[in-house]
Symmetry: none
Subunit: 225 residues, 4 copies
């Protein structure tokens, strides 16, 4: 089971990841920016991006309304930063996995486990990622797309590598497979988040899904021959 779950959910300050919008802070507050992001996850999950009020996020974070604008350009930027932060962490984890010297099947299994495992226990985050991100077509196209493409490429590269190694059927389209895999994971996470979000649900789903998919992708050693 992935142990970087908590870091993904934002416990670690991870100052090196502050690529956008963050301003240098003195040591006064531990990390006000992170506090705001976590408050935003809660509020976005509960109300949705558009219905969420900046003042609510501020209140949930225990800061004044205006303070949010010291750390983020505007409300959009809060959502984008949220996605950006968490997605970068996921990407880093996926890349690390992809770089391992493992069998392709093992890698894909780990990737599936990783992604669903990250959300397991973080229903709010899952809801934000699966639902809220689509709330602004503009945000989706403008900011999410690039990272998303990176994500798909990591998966696709693992598939392609597997094909070169002879472990995966040649007639499979790597990028299409990546799209379908992401969709399947997203769909499972969505129904899990909107439904009961039962503990262990995602972990179990990850395992079953991996088995089925990999069986479909595996190159058959001349069946019946």
């Amino acid at each position: 089971m992935p142990d970087n779950e908590s870091s993904f959910s934002g416990t670690a300050p991870a100052p090196e990841a502050r690529g956008r919008g963050g301003k240098p802070k003195r040591g006064t507050a531990p990390d006000k920016r992170e506090r705001i992001l976590r408050a935003a996850i809660k509020v976005f999950a509960r109300k949705g991006f558009f219905a969420a009020r900046v003042s609510e996020i501020a209140k949930a974070a225990g800061v004044a309304d205006g303070t949010i604008y010291l750390y983020f350009k505007n409300k959009d930027d809060v959502l984008v930063s949220l996605f950006d932060d968490r997605m970068r962490k996921l990407l880093a984890a996926l890349r690390e996995e992809a770089a391992r010297d493992d069998a392709t099947e093992r890698k894909l299994t780990r990737i599936i486990e990783l992604q669903l495992g990250l959300l397991e226990g973080h229903r709010d985050l899952a809801e934000v990622i699966t639902v809220n991100l689509r709330q602004s077509t503009r945000l989706l196209k403008q900011y999410a797309a690039p990272l998303f493409v990176e994500y798909l490429e990591v998966i696709a590269s693992v598939v392609a590598e597997g094909q070169r190694a002879g472990a995966i059927r040649e007639d499979i389209h790597p990028l299409l497979t990546a799209r379908a895999l992401w969709g399947a994971l997203d769909g499972i996470a969505l129904t899990w988040a909107l439904g009961g979000a039962e503990p262990g649900g995602l972990t179990r789903a990850a395992r079953e899904l991996a088995t089925t998919l990999l069986d479909g992708m595996r190159r058959r050693p001349a069946v019946g021959a």
Copy 2:
């Protein structure tokens, strides 16, 4: 290829389908309600649900702002009705397919083709279905969920039937598979809509996906025996 594509996208007036909100009108306009729905698809796809202005929809439909409120309770109701209308048509098609006396694999293949084929050539509708529907968590939970559950159950029942018939592996979870399948289709449609929406892209994707998935789900006749 499904030939009811156009009816799904709303070409046919289909007055008998006026289940919700519609009021009986005199024969003045052929079908003003349908005109509004189609205008809404365009505007929602271009701007997103929240950024879409009711007045824009009215203008695109060639009616006065107030007229929209003769056919729909409010802006939310337009989106919900849209989903409701189109989803019911998809469901009917899926059920018909599921009821056929075909092999399970054939049925699943047809279902995948049906769903992606319906969106092929209707980029706007695809974008509304894959993106806009998630714009309001409330709408999603309240209205979309029930129909969505019906959808999942149709797929799951086909899978379960295949298991009973010995065509599909026993260790597969029908409902989870349905969720993953829907997610994969949704993900493919989303990336297609947000990307180039190249002609034939969905149709091709449907075929490839079907092949891969079904291979993974198929019961192996004692490999190597």
Copy 3:
């Protein structure tokens, strides 16, 4: 007890009183205009002029929305016509009373009884007259004022006549008295309408008020001299 109560409340067609807005009607409907006016009294009383919807009045009158505009210029005109109609009837009754060859005290007593008696049993009308009429400052100033002045003058003339006849004190200002008398009657009617509107309440109030006021206005025959 006044016996023209019912005519005041609009039972009689009173075609001669149709001074404003009314259009000649064929004998088709008994009196659609009157039906609309009575419906308006009900709706105005229940909702107030501004909150009252034209469509509600139409529905209460059993006609189509558009029909109202065949009999009245607009919504304002309905309220104005209402006041005009009823006020003219009251004025006619008051004038008749004032012209009688009675003692001044008797006349004033009758006037008080007449006015409150007219409203007794017509709570809706009472509420419209005491409350709704003031809902539009413009209406009040523009339309109600002239009739209202006529009303005050009838009262004032009776008072002045009483002074000339030596029945009423010389130091009383007739017009001020008329204003106060109307105010008192209006205030009593208002509290009656907004309160329980208990049967007989107005009639009883009329008698008591008359006694008190007249005692105050009566010329004392050299008390103690």
Copy 4:
């Protein structure tokens, strides 16, 4: 003549009177809430409650539209607060008068002078109190009624006290008298406000009315004996 006239019309900030809706503000503006209320009096008097635009009130008060909603729940609340504020001041003045150790006649005279004197010179306020308050039946019944009942009870108690002291006739109904008295004062103020609002008009009217009414209520010491 009452010297608290100006305080009634709102000249004094009277921060202690901020019973409803007001939020504590920093010392920026002297009293923004009061400024809004006074602007509202002007606009309501000129246009009537319904025709008055919130933006007009804001402009007249020299604040932004939104600022009004920092001090009042909505437009209704502005009118209600207006009435509430001013009525409480009147009630306090009346109660003080009623509590004095004076003869009943003197008290009633003072009460009449007080009430009309308060409006003298404040035509706008007079118009709001006599006209606008009745513009919303709901407001009238819900908010004004309780304070109004208190008002009537103060008057009625003075009358009843006079009866016990033998100064006022036994056959007079205290509460009815209060209703009539209020109505008379209201009627006089209304006609004054809608008419020329000539200076001194109300003061003069107060004196004459007091004389007449009190004469009618006074217990006669065995006339002719």
